[in-house]
Symmetry: C2
Subunit: 472 residues, 2 copies
């Protein structure tokens, strides 16, 4: 492993050059005009992987219907390095598509030309999300090939080109290949999230789920003039606002009865993971741009981000939304809200609690309008354990490369592929981020610090060594 | 007067032809592509009026800024028929522009070709709003000219071409001409509203005012991801919905303290005007398209439309409004609502009551977000009296032409020009509608019944006779 670590350090400029080439391909999956670039990016990866001796296959995912236009979906790139049955097989996932980026959005430099600034930040679209981490794995393979040593595990790649556009086709492929291409997988590692702050690596072992609801109030056949009808009919907006106001109080407490019943209590072991986290309230204030925090300490704030449910109201469809004044009584309005769910909440139970409560609250109004509420989408929460050997191995790797114990973090949002792999393969999934919390993944001036890229490459390799030696 | 009435009856086909020509000019003021048609319409009116011997002038209103584009405003057409200082001078107002209309909106016939159907409905855009009534006055002048008799009053026309687009420039012109062109005006008559129902003429003597408010909650610098921030920050939508829910209850009662204090009590005389109105709850249900009435009788329903205040919430700016799901925490949201005001509410007092109450309700939330609320616009209510000689004259005219006492109605919406004339000229203003309540002024298949057009023309003329003889 030491030889590997030295090699990475010595060849860091080569690796930066590789990242430069990857960033130069504007593989924006959300823009049909860039679809050929997404394909070009997949071909570039296939070539890189083949050059390093990997067995590479691509899987065609068929067509996408994009606003009535048929677009070819970029392929999933599957690659295998080593197939020694005596060794563990680690599956790594990443994506080679990126978010849109235009200089005029406010970038300081051309987004698809990698620039290294004075603070050694590698700036460019996709640098940290997720081309840097994907190349990190490839760098690990290259280092071993150059050193003439075998990887300590068999490595399988699963790289997709539609992550920023809903991962169309991915779940079906994972389910399909679970007992085929992925059948020997011992554990999964995904490097597609971020450190909590900017100074300390972390392992991420939990994600909140999300249950999304639409609540609709229908009244008149068509929009009415408030002069003619105001005061004489039950107005859908009045009813909707009344019911929506019963969902959550101003400090974030959800008012749906029973909603907290299955939230797992905080035990001492979990409590300890909140000690010494590399995060300050100032970082929250900076990210939000104002001091509107509900909780006054990091501990509470992160608990409410990671392990407690929350409810957000997103907007209303059907009402007046433009600037200016319009004296309309909207005929039909749909309130949109979602609940972030945590262990051990059960999405189906949450849905029925919410539906029942909203209907009761509407009944109380005594309105003659028509009310419906329905769950439109739910994604379950996900929780692994920092005690799982896959995580213990990763923690050792962090210690080796960074000399510190990693923060043990969870995230408030969802990364659906995590759950897809865990459910289809029934193997432990580890989230092992490379970049920092301030990388600006979907923003302008996205960056990956050179140090994170190089040490991150070391970390991914070191993890393979540690996980090869541990009993999974 | 009898000769006049007979003439109108005998020449009704000529008058329908005149309406056909007017409808054929698509004078849509809200569509820049039709602006030349609006000018063409003004020129057509000038020609018609000159042909009948009127003194005609036009007033240039300058330019309109339409989304950054400079458009010429259509002129105000001013015309005078007769200037006998012994006679009263009656000012009539109307507008020659129309709402947009496209066959594909759902019209059964081409909107700018007047069609008379089997029920003798004259169908076409502008038939009832407001070309029919404008031509009604012109028909009166033509009949007198043809009969070789003088009008019983001096008649002044004020015809605008921007009524459907905010009457830009009109108020300034009225104020400007109050002591000039309009200085001898004895009373004003506007025919630009509708019967209450479909069977009985009415005189309209009151309009509600409207006070519009924007209530803004600001939180983060930019929209946030609800996964990352949900549960940790005060969300502007939560606060806004909470305050909006305190404005009005589901049966329309406004919750702002003091708001009803100055609402004029219903006295016996006013109460009587609600007897025998030609209106049924079925007409409300038909217009609304569902049975969501708050009040179960005509009397209460119309009182709440005409003489009680109401509050409607129109929508939210800044929140998610598209179809589908989006897990956003909107950074800044503005709730829009308005209050319909009635005598003797004072707009300035209403504004301060609302602002004070909303601020107090926000304070109660204990949120760290920033809250502002402000009145954006107010138009005062207007109330004349059915006992005013101008109304008594009109009621006599109704009796002459229709053989019934008119309904005495008010309206829930505002017709700003009414107040403009009354305030600038300090003369009584009468609203004397020609069309029926189901004419569909701003809808598809707008119509004016032939009977309403012809009897309406008789009514406008008869009114001139009655008002000429009464002491104003």
């Amino acid at each position: 492993m030491d030889k590997f670590l030295d090699y990475v350090n010595e060849h860091q400029n080569d690796f930066v050059e590789r990242l430069r080439k990857a960033v130069a391909i504007p593989s924006v999956s959300g823009d049909p005009a860039h679809r050929p670039d997404v394909f070009r990016m997949s071909e570039w990866l296939v070539k890189e992987l083949k050059k390093l001796g990997a067995d590479v296959e691509t899987r065609d995912l068929g067509k996408q219907n994009w606003h009535g236009q048929e677009l070819d979906l970029p392929p999933i790139v599957l690659a295998t390095v080593g197939n020694n049955p005596e060794k563990k097989t680690i599956l790594v996932y990443g994506h080679y598509d990126v978010q849109p980026a235009l200089l005029e959005d406010g970038w300081n430099t051309s987004p698809f030309e990698l620039v290294e600034d004075e603070q050694h930040r590698l700036i460019g679209r996709g640098a940290t999300d997720d081309k840097g981490p994907v190349l990190g794995w490839i760098n690990v393979v290259e280092a071993h090939k150059a050193l003439g040593i075998e990887l300590p595990v068999n490595l399988k790649f699963c790289l997709e080109g539609m992550e920023e556009s809903g991962s169309e086709g991915l779940d079906a492929l994972i389910a399909d290949e679970a007992s085929k291409y992925f059948k020997d997988v011992s554990a999964v590692c995904i490097s597609d999230n971020y450190w909590l702050g900017t100074t300390k690596p972390c392992l991420t072992y939990g994600l909140r789920g999300v249950s999304y609801f639409h609540m609709k109030v229908k009244g008149p056949r068509a929009d009415l003039h408030s002069g003619v009808f105001g005061g004489t009919v039950h107005e859908p907006m009045t009813d909707l606002i009344a019911v929506m106001s019963k969902l959550v109080n101003p400090d974030g407490k959800i008012l749906v009865p029973g909603i907290y019943d299955k939230v797992r209590p905080l035990d001492d072991e979990e409590k300890k993971t909140y000690d010494n986290l590399a995060f300050e309230m100032e970082e929250l204030h900076g990210a939000v741009g104002s001091k509107i925090n509900i909780h006054d300490c990091v501990r509470k704030t992160l608990q409410h981000r990671w392990r407690n449910p929350s409810l957000s109201m997103h907007g209303i469809e059907g009402a007046f939304y433009n600037p200016g004044d319009k004296t309309v009584i909207p005929a039909q309005v749909t309130g949109k809200f979602s609940i972030r769910t945590v262990p051990d909440m059960v999405p189906a139970e949450i849905s029925s609690l919410v539906v029942k409560y909203c209907k009761e609250e509407f009944e109380k109004l005594g309105s003659k309008n028509t009310f419906t509420v329905e769950p439109t989408h739910d994604g379950n929460h996900w929780l692994s354990s920092p005690n799982h050997p896959n995580y213990v191995a990763a923690a050792k790797a962090v210690k080796t490369v960074y000399g510190v114990e990693p923060d043990l973090t969870r995230e408030g949002g969802s990364i659906p592929v995590t759950l897809s792999f865990q459910e289809a393969l029934n193997k432990n999934v580890l989230l092992l981020p490379m970049g920092r919390g301030d990388d600006g993944a979907h923003s302008i001036n996205e960056k990956l610090d050179r140090d994170n890229y190089i040490k991150g490459t070391q970390l991914l390799g070191a993890y393979l060594y540690e996980v090869s030696e541990i009993k999974l």
